[in-house]
């Protein structure tokens, strides 16, 4: 019932890193490509995969495109598949609450019903409003 005298201390080391930097190291078969910028100048990332199958495991087939790294000349690079772009902001900058933001996710465009459409046709902001409302009232 009570704890044994031995314990896996390695977990404590991991949590230190998680809590200190407020960011996360994910273990993934994919690698982020951080070079992209959207038209508004916000940093964008795309996940790179060594095979189409690996990409389709994460995204729809249509969203996975072949990609060749290198200088753009089409020669000498490495072939990958990559998923659609996504904003890198909250993780790279360290997520911080913006008190001026009362609407849905930052990477989103507001619509009249409060649901939002992401530029890549992903709806975001469908959760979170009630929590913000209660938080603002001290709940």
């Amino acid at each position: 019932m009570t704890k044994a005298t031995t314990r896996d201390w390695s977990s404590t080391i991991v949590i230190l890193s998680l809590l200190t930097v407020g960011s996360v190291m994910t273990v993934s078969s994919c690698q982020p490509d951080r070079r992209g910028m959207d038209t508004a100048g916000e940093a964008q990332k795309r996940n790179l995969y060594q095979s189409k199958e690996a990409c389709v495991a994460d995204y729809s087939e249509e969203a996975c495109e072949a990609y060749q790294s290198g200088d753009g000349s089409g020669s000498g690079g490495v072939f990958f598949f990559r998923g659609p772009p996504y904003p890198a902001s909250w993780r790279h900058a360290g997520y911080a609450f913006d008190p001026a933001r009362t609407g849905p996710g930052r990477a989103a465009l507001a619509s009249p019903d409060g649901v939002v459409a992401h530029p890549t046709q992903t709806m975001r902001g469908g959760f979170g409003a009630t929590g913000r409302s209660y938080a603002s009232r001290g709940g």
Partner: protein, 374 residues
């Protein structure tokens, strides 16, 4: 059970600064200048009571579903239907925290069950264990929370065949961020690929949910109450997809204070329960009125309890209420402790003690480590 003043670890401030838990006012919530000491038999009592309560709560949840008593619990119909379906399918639970009144002498009494979005997990699982190992290495502590969480996530991974876990919550809130970071750690150790995401960044692309990276969500750990989710735009999509979510939707039944009167109906006179009802019945004597889906002690009112004046209204004031016999918390040196008993995958795995100088455990409470002797 006794309260003892102890010398804190000399490095505790640096340790907590390291993990971002030391406040600017030098008045930390986790505070090991005081600790609680329990005898082995008292820990046995807490363990047995927690298991008995977990069993009764499971029966009460099934009763609510069978008798369709969701209105009394304040659960809207769409959520009720989904919660019942999740329970019937046998969706598991990872964790929950029972709040118990216990003085070391009389049977522990259930005050409420945080079965949907419990926090105060990291301090119970890790910080007080570090304290024990450094300050009292020859003593024991009722605490296998950490190992049990890893085992629970490993079991889920094996049973589901899934590999990726998205963890979502209001990451701008310290409590949520810390709990999610810790839950991410134990899930990662259990073999999951983990991705934390602000809950407002969860997306839906017409086929499935996507995380902040646009990657499809396989399984979701959410630190966001089901009754809030049910009011929001994506709830219907969760139901349609039958997304794997932890805690499962049926936990809203266990979490509603409306279950407290039902527990008393089903198990009247049980030593670990307090008399409770849906009506403001003076026969309960001094009593506590609680909103069925309130949180963090907001909008709790005391009735006929000397010395406890009406509290100001908060955001849950308009909710349906239940009435529970008032159980005074024990008083040690002017502080009132409350026991948080952690249930991991259905097993009682440890306790954490919070104490307040107020009779109502609130924002001024301190988390105190504990140890066993004898």
């Amino acid at each position: 059970m006794r309260r003892e003043v102890t010398a804190p670890r000399p490095n505790i401030k640096a340790r907590m600064q390291d993990i971002g838990l030391w406040p600017r006012d030098d008045n930390p919530y986790y505070d090991e200048t005081v600790a609680y000491v329990f005898s082995e038999s008292q820990i046995e009592t807490l363990y047995e009571a927690s298991l008995a309560l977990e069993h009764m709560i499971g029966e009460a949840v099934d009763h609510v579903i069978a008798k369709k008593r969701f209105d009394e619990l304040g659960i809207p119909q769409a959520l009720a239907t989904y919660a019942a379906a999740c329970r019937r399918k046998g969706h598991p639970s990872v964790y929950g925290r029972m709040d118990l009144a216990y003085d070391g002498i009389h049977p522990p009494k259930l005050l409420e069950y945080n079965a949907d979005t419990p926090t105060a997990l990291f301090e119970a699982a890790v910080l007080q264990w570090e304290w024990l190992k450094e300050r009292f290495p020859d003593c024991d502590q009722f605490n296998s929370i950490h190992e049990a969480l890893i085992a629970a996530w490993a079991k889920l991974k094996n049973q589901s065949g899934l590999s990726r876990l998205t963890l979502a919550g209001m990451l701008e809130e310290d409590d949520d961020r810390m709990t999610i970071a810790y839950m991410e750690d134990v899930a990662h150790q259990a073999g999951w690929r983990t991705i934390p995401t602000p809950i407002s960044e969860l997306g839906f692309d017409g086929r499935g949910f996507v995380d902040a990276e646009g990657v499809y969500v396989q399984a979701l750990f959410k630190l966001y109450p089901w009754d809030w989710m049910a009011q929001e735009a994506f709830f219907d999509r969760v139901v349609e997809l039958d997304l794997a979510v932890m805690e499962s939707a049926w936990r809203v039944i266990a979490s509603s204070k409306g279950l407290l009167p039902i527990l008393w109906e089903l198990f009247p006179g049980h030593p670990n329960l307090l008399p409770a009802g849906f009506n403001n019945d003076p026969a309960l004597g001094p009593r506590v009125s609680k909103p069925v889906l309130g949180r963090e002690g907001s909008d709790i009112q005391f009735i006929d309890v000397p010395g406890l004046p009406p509290a100001p209204e908060g955001p849950y004031a308009s909710q349906k209420r239940i009435y529970q016999a008032y159980q005074p918390l024990p008083c040690f040196d002017g502080w009132y402790p409350i026991i948080g008993s952690w249930i991991i995958d259905g097993e009682a795995c440890g306790v954490g003690v919070r104490e307040d100088q107020d009779k109502v455990t609130g924002l001024g409470a301190k988390f105190r480590p504990h140890r066993m002797e004898g």
